[in-house]
């Protein structure tokens, strides 16, 4: 078999294959480690039973829905008190409740959100208005 212009075609094919598979091998070995959100805050350390608003698994997947519900209840329906599934009471507030316990935003919320690649700056847009807790960086 004879290939016309093999001198050009074979290197061309090689370059093509390399470029097409570039995304596969470029990230090899450098996959970002899964995030480890830190629970090491004064408020959580003081808790006898380490428990979030919902069970942990649910919190991990549904916290944005919960925040959305809280927001609707507070802003539109004028309710501010939330009695959780386990009977505990929470003030439905992002700044005053979530962040009271999770006062380490950069090591908690942000680690996951950066990993998940949420939007530019990898943050939900809430913090353009809501004031994040001061952290001693």
């Amino acid at each position: 078999m004879k290939i016309y212009n093999a001198k050009l075609i074979i290197p061309g094919l090689l370059i093509f294959v390399v470029m097409v598979t570039f995304p596969i091998w470029y990230n090899k070995g450098s996959a970002a480690p899964p995030p480890e959100p830190s629970l090491n805050t004064p408020a959580i350390q003081r808790m006898a039973e380490k428990q979030c608003v919902l069970p942990k698994d649910q919190m991990r997947t549904d916290h944005m829905q919960l925040l959305n519900e809280w927001r609707t209840e507070v802003v539109r329906n004028g309710n501010r008190l939330y009695v959780a599934w386990d009977g505990k009471e929470y003030n439905m507030s992002l700044q005053n409740e979530c962040m009271r316990c999770h006062s380490n935003k950069s090591e908690f919320c942000d680690t996951c959100h950066v990993y998940a690649g949420l939007k530019s700056g990898s943050q939900p847009y809430c913090w353009t208005c809501h004031i994040a807790p001061k952290e001693n960086k």
Binding site: N79, L81, Y82
Partner: protein
């Protein structure tokens, strides 16, 4: 199965019973957690209203007193941009002629001409800003009568600013956070560029059993707050004893801020 009148009525009766049981099951279901409600200490009213007694305000010796404005703007993280065009204001001073230009005559008692009047959102009974808002970001809260803002929904079209005859709304032309010159209140959010803001009658304080920040801050008792639908409330008592005026009543917006002058 052959159906006759008798069996039809039986089935109908059972169905009616089932419908009757619906409220019972609903009542049982409502017990299920999670639940949402008000805080038990929340202050409630059908229509919150304010009486501003400018006489008391003017009588006091310290004419530069701005306690109410400072308290409000500090509490709500209101920025001080520094130009009139971009000014953000929830509670501010206006001249008599600008406040009551429809009622002002050429000849007034000297006292009124050069004294400022405290103005804020009137939390109207039929608010024009709510009528024009295309996203329902501003709305009349049925529980309290407060004209509220849902900053999450505001798209910054500024129809409400055109609709409001009192100039009670301010637009954030730029990111306000660097211009917050008072100490930041970590318990209340700020706003961002591109949203409209205004007085909230301190909804978040009422929910915690506290009166508005301005009412609490005034040392001279010039601001009175209460339920206008309750004949025993402090606002109604003041209105029963004093002649009061409202801003631009002819427009039919039904302001809920009253002035004693």
């Amino acid at each position: 199965m052959e159906s006759n009148r008798r069996s039809f009525l039986k089935i109908g009766g059972i169905c009616a019973l089932g419908l009757g049981a619906l409220p019972v099951t609903k009542a049982l279901a409502r017990k299920a957690l999670p639940q949402v409600s008000d805080f038990p200490e929340a202050l409630k009213a059908n229509q919150w209203a304010m009486v501003v007694d400018m006489k008391k305000c003017w009588e006091q010796a310290d004419r530069d007193c701005k306690d109410c404005i400072l308290a409000c703007h500090q509490y709500h993280n209101v920025p001080d941009i520094g130009t009139i065009k971009e000014e953000i204001k929830w509670l501010w001073q206006e001249s008599y002629h600008d406040t009551f230009h429809d009622q002002a005559t050429k000849f007034n008692i000297a006292n009124i001409e050069h004294n400022p009047i405290m103005v804020l959102c009137n939390h109207c009974t039929s608010p024009p800003c709510v009528r024009v808002c295309p996203t329902k970001a501003t709305f009349k809260d049925k529980k309290s009568g407060i004209v509220k803002m849902d900053y999450h929904r505001c798209i910054g079209c500024r129809f409400c600013m055109a609709g409001c005859p009192y100039g009670a709304r301010s637009f954030n032309f730029r990111d306000p956070i660097p211009y917050i010159k008072t100490e930041l209140n970590m318990a209340y959010p700020a706003r961002e560029r591109g949203v409209v803001e205004k007085c909230s009658f301190c909804t978040e304080r009422l929910a915690r059993g506290l009166f508005p920040a301005c009412v609490e801050a005034c040392r001279h008792g010039a601001l009175t707050f209460g339920d206008i639908t309750d004949a025993d409330s402090p606002v109604r008592k003041l209105l029963a004893e004093n002649y009061s005026i409202k801003r631009r009543p002819e427009l039919g917006t039904g302001p809920n801020v009253y002035y004693i002058i």
